[in-house]
Point group: C2
Chain length 281, copies 2
């Protein structure tokens, strides 16, 4: 793979993509970031070959939008005249509804190809300093075609293979957002709600792996996540209501000392994990 790639946004994901393209492909990587510090850090460590100019955008084979959802849409709107017909535009946003409503329309009007993307990898840290060429090794890459031609989808599948992803899943914006509400947004909300307990500041010495695992992602970027959670409000609200019901059911069995009911509920959960092959017994 030796295409010309422009990456807009050199944070954790954009920076990691840049480094991964440099490490695992022959692509030319041009970077764009409003933050001069991130841009010069990316240049000086060789994560990007150069800062992207208007000409680079004009001649790009693929443009990666590694920005918050609204910023990704704004970037395209501002640079529309520069994006050539046939250029593959993709994003890395955690929620797909809004971006997959807006960008396919602009793509159709201006002749570029838009395919939504979501690399399922992350870290508690943000920013270029945390980026890592190996962040995506073994991870799942979600591809949301939004009506784009197959060759654009195939290009992203080839990128996934080249950069070491573990696999790709092709899905719709609705199914993507529904699943992400469960797999990613719910754990983030839970982590935040969990550490709000008055017991939290006293936990050292009384805690082990369970505390660490549930609280890990409470170290949140509140601006980014406010946008992501509200963009997915319908699916997330339903998922949260269901979770509250399930916790309440367990809580009632505990409060009333109903051992048989409680054992039945816990057993049900164990069986879910076992059927998924996630049991260690």
């Amino acid at each position: 793979m030796n295409q010309k790639i422009v990456i807009a946004g050199l944070g954790l994901i954009g920076g990691s993509l840049a480094k991964a393209f440099q490490k695992y492909s022959e692509c030319e990587v041009c970077g764009f970031d409003r933050d001069g510090g991130a841009l010069s850090a990316a240049l000086s460590c060789g994560a990007i070959d150069k800062a992207a100019t208007g000409d680079d955008i004009r001649s790009a084979d693929c443009l990666f939008l590694c920005l918050y959802p609204q910023a990704a849409i704004d970037f395209i709107t501002e640079h529309l005249p520069l994006i050539r017909p046939g250029c593959i535009v993709t994003d890395t946003c955690g929620i797909k509804a809004e971006i997959c409503r807006t960008l396919p329309k602009l793509a159709a009007e201006h002749g570029f190809l838009f395919v939504g993307g979501h690399p399922m990898a992350g870290k508690e840290q943000n920013g270029f300093a945390a980026s890592d060429a190996d962040l995506f090794l073994g991870a799942s890459y979600l591809i949301v075609p939004c009506g784009a031609p197959q060759r654009a989808v195939d290009f992203l599948k080839a990128v996934a293979v080249e950069l070491g992803f573990g696999g790709t899943v092709v899905t719709t914006p609705e199914h993507h957002d529904r699943m992400i509400a469960f797999t990613s947004q719910l754990p983030h909300v839970l982590a935040c709600a969990y550490v709000m307990s008055p017991r939290c500041p006293e936990h050292p010495g009384f805690s082990a792996g369970s505390y660490r695992d549930v609280s890990r992602v409470a170290n949140i970027n509140e601006t980014h996540w406010t946008e992501l959670l509200i963009d997915n409000r319908k699916a997330l609200t339903e998922e949260l209501e269901e979770l509250i019901c399930n916790i309440t059911e367990i809580k009632n069995a505990v409060a009333l000392g109903e051992a048989e009911t409680l054992r039945g509920l816990l057993r049900k959960s164990r069986l879910v994990k076992e059927r998924l092959g996630e049991s260690c017994k």
Copy 2:
């Protein structure tokens, strides 16, 4: 350290303690388990020097009860005539209220010394097969003296140093159970409630670290945990009610699209982690 140790219950914790005593101390380790398979596995791999006889219990310096809470109390009741005055009896139960109500009374009546203990280490797997001499390295060891003389407490502190624990915390049964409701029981309830979502069986391909971390301990031993959760029903119910309130507050902000409120809530959580030095930024 070269005392005679009797370990009753050779599951994950008892088996790991046996192996740790063998690896890191000069103690003689005798084991007891109703399950002949666990006992012979422990013998054949050298985790214990011998199966404990009545004489071993009579001459033990320290008796570790690595059993479910009620079974630990039953073991002491059944073997009372064998336990010599001055013998240090300790347990490894996850909840202290019940055992710390019963055993100090029996200790006072019969002359042995009871000190509650809780090694803060575990695994998703159970049973002797999962036991590991290094399970406790760096972990916290909670000690609940229940009025025992200082020399008994000091003995357990010395055990903690010898077996490689990261530190000890001396506390009361009430504070222990209150903190464990938050640090350990809540994450287990959450994990079980989380995997009850109809989305859970479809998660593969759509999930990464957040799903893995929150769902990990849903692979639960429902009999053991039913006893532990109900034994701590008051503290756990309060903790669960508070968590439900906190999740509901975030859910309402999401459902109503109240970005400022949501950002404020998430920010509060991030600051809790930062003040604890658990931020990675």
